[in-house]
Symmetry: C2
Subunit: 346 residues, 2 copies
């Protein structure tokens, strides 16, 4: 009765009995690994249909080497930065006939370690990790001998398998855009400097300012984290402390920009009329934000895609697989939060 939920699925043995052939023949038919006569092939296929047979992937990879499985550990699937990235990974995995285990740590370091062990037990062929900032976390990965590539964030001075975007350039682009539009007195609200991307964006900001012949005003620099709350808090502080507001804010993430704009609006300061705000990362929310946010796009889908491709090169190349870093270039997305016209300010 094919329609019944059979507690134990049919096995090759069942097929071989049903089709009155040997197990090896069944295997040969399924894997097309050697010639089998028309007749037996049919009998076997027939039996497979009848018994609703599906090979057991475990038994298979017990013998063989590969489990045809890859995994990814990401810090927060609810953060809009990641879904596109995950889709990029998944698409490539599928394309290669691999299955893909997604592990969401929800920013819990304990869950991270648990996942590492789980992945080991599942004998996964490769692992993508989005967001390792601490060298110790990386060590946990390496000491387990996992085949991995890092995504997005990386620990200090890491120079191996990594795919990310040129964060330094994101800020340069921001500054250049702002300056082109006529803004010169620019505040910076950044992320946690312990995170590589935040660090790079901050460096890029300083570099960009210098390049434009501008000075970074230390009283207009804030470091927090990539959240709405942090952007809100620091903008509030800036508003209350400064007698004269800067004419632009360069935020290190769109979330920060959202928070800053909220704070600004609460004080009836208009964006972009009174002050320009530049985001960074092109969050899917940004286009339709209260004020459509000018920002820097990060090619998140491609990041995931290329990271997975890179991982597959390592998997294919077995032990070898030369370490390499892929750095994607960001691009400017001009919307309305920075205005469009050259305004002259006294």
């Amino acid at each position: 009765m094919a329609w019944m939920r059979s507690e134990t699925m049919a096995t090759m043995k069942d097929i071989s009995k049903n089709a009155k052939v040997s197990i090896a023949t069944v295997s040969a038919v399924i894997n097309k690994s050697s010639y089998v006569s028309q007749e037996l092939t049919e009998r076997v296929n027939q039996a497979i249909q009848e018994l609703n047979y599906r090979p057991n992937a475990f038994a298979r990879s017990l013998k063989g080497k590969s489990t045809k499985t890859v995994a990814a550990i990401v810090t927060d699937i609810e953060n809009p930065y990641y879904p596109a990235m995950i889709k990029g990974m998944d698409d490539v995995a599928i394309m290669n006939g691999f299955s893909f285990i997604l592990c969401n740590t929800a920013n819990d370091p304990k869950r991270f370690i648990n996942y590492l062990d789980l992945i080991l037990e599942k004998r996964v062929d490769g692992l993508l990790i989005s967001n390792i900032s601490l060298r110790e976390e990386l060590e946990q990965v390496e000491k387990r001998g996992l085949n991995y590539v890092l995504l997005n964030r990386k620990p200090p001075a890491y120079d191996k398998n990594y795919v990310g975007i040129n964060n330094h350039l994101t800020s340069e682009l921001s500054v250049k855009h702002l300056v082109t539009l006529g803004y010169r007195n620019i505040a910076y609200i950044g992320g946690d400097l312990k995170i590589s991307t935040a660090h790079e964006r901050w460096e890029g900001f300083q570099y960009g300012m210098t390049e434009q012949g501008l000075e970074v005003n230390a009283s207009l620099v804030f470091h927090g984290d990539y959240t709405i709350e942090s952007g809100y808090k620091h903008a509030k502080k800036m508003i209350s402390v400064q007698k004269r507001l800067p004419d632009a804010i360069c935020a290190a993430s769109d979330m920060i920009a959202f928070g800053a704009i909220k704070a600004l609006r609460e004080s009836s300061i208009r964006v972009p009329e009174d002050i320009a705000v530049m985001g960074n990362d092109n969050n899917p929310y940004s286009e339709n934000f209260i004020v459509p946010l000018s920002t820097i796009d990060h090619l998140k889908y491609d990041m995931g895609k290329m990271a997975m491709e890179s991982l597959f090169e390592r998997i294919e190349g077995k032990e070898r697989g030369i370490d390499r870093q892929i750095i994607l270039n960001p691009s400017l997305v001009a919307r309305v939060s920075c205005g469009w016209l050259n305004r002259s300010k006294d």
Copy 2:
């Protein structure tokens, strides 16, 4: 050399040799399945440390019954409706010590079938499916004898394992909110009626209108799909066709509302001053949308969570597991797109 990426990991046999005990003893130590002397236990643990051993989950579930794995098939991980739902599922899976395979079909029916077979081959213990609308798709699942629970959407007249929200009520709530605020001439822009949720929301709208003693004006009703584009298109059409606009729009999803508001703004029609717009589903974008959107919250996280809990009941209860449907109640989230005050319109 523990730091080396060993192509083949240590096995129980290796441990047993290293610790000079039998394989059975190793197994007993690892699973605490029978008493082992202090001394041997230590020797075994020692060897496990040294060889960096991790049990092979495959071999394990080859013998035993359960693979300790669940899967979920979702239609679109990039749609902001789902990440929270997925997190709910994942959290419960983790809690139960199961691993969780996420399958994203990207709305591709072929990928759906492929995933079904994959899941079968991996001998997954249970499956969650968000978004089956077609009876034929369900049949594919059932004929494979999979242990599943449906989420969010369901095929017509489906009365088995399902977790969703009361879509009928979402529209009732919308209408009631609108009417309370003084709106009476209400347009409806809905989704694809072949989708259960869209159908239910449309039914709920009609019911709600009647309940409020209002008539549904057929020329103000549009059915499309849950996208920005669809909302935009139908609002445009309405604007161009109607000599006199309704005083409110009830949209069947936040995306539709976004699109409608876009169209409205393009025609310099203000929201909520000139027309109120009500969303549905409380998309994470909505709070900070161009005009913060009043909408109906869907408890997406809980949907995922409860669906997974329901699935575990089925897994635990083996073959049994009574079929049941869990319907969550939505709630109103009043923001600015519908205004706050009772306005009198002639």
